[in-house]
Symmetry: C2
Subunit: 131 residues, 2 copies
């Protein structure tokens, strides 16, 4: 098996940026576990290939990525374009609807970043009170 070191993997729990790595509170989520991370991967508007998407997604298994992409396609968040070539090439890109989801997503992410310290402290206090 090929040795892989995902460069800057995004977290499954979404709304994370690197800062939230410890991920205080399961933050807001969209649909499945990976939906929002896919949104982040595609937010620059450039279409991406299946295998490209796996890299920043912690080497998510194909099955799970397929499921995620299918449901997002079904909901109109992205388009799937299969080019009839050999080797096959399939590209995914956000639709306007998908891009519009980034707005509430960013709001939620901002909230998480802003309040992560409070949550961490609240948890610590809770532990102190009830060990």
């Amino acid at each position: 098996m090929t040795e892989q070191s995902s460069p800057q993997p995004l977290s499954p729990t979404l709304f994370d940026d690197p800062d939230c790595a410890g991920s205080p509170s399961r933050p807001l989520r969209v649909g499945g576990k990976w939906t929002a991370v896919v949104l982040r991967c595609l937010e620059d508007g450039a279409p991406r290939r299946f295998s490209e998407l796996r890299v920043p997604l912690h080497w998510i298994t194909p099955k799970v990525l397929t499921e995620t992409l299918r449901s997002m396609e079904r909901d109109g968040f992205l388009t799937r374009t299969a080019h009839d070539e050999n080797p096959p090439r399939v590209e995914y890109a956000l639709t306007d609807l998908g891009r519009s989801l980034l707005t509430p997503l960013d709001a939620a992410c901002a909230w998480t970043r802003a309040h992560a310290p409070e949550i961490t402290e609240a948890r610590a206090a809770y532990e102190r009170a009830a060990p």
Copy 2:
């Protein structure tokens, strides 16, 4: 058992208002299934008792409500106040932190309402293409 007709039950998938009843797309969620609904129940600032909370929550089972409240207390979203009386009385109320979560929550809810028709249409189109 007492016959109960929960008056205007809030949906588990959160961010719902009555309009989103059909709930296109699993919308954004906060932590567990019920977290955000509890936020909504407490958003007016008035403290509520355990049993009061069960009513608008579809008669959620005590176990699940307890879990939800515990995790929210732990994260500092609400406070739990046990009055030493008989019969016992326990009240839950949002903290400032919990209240602040309502902002991104409202944003997400607004997005869902605004785009629900598009999602519904996208799904219909998807079904037409791949029946």
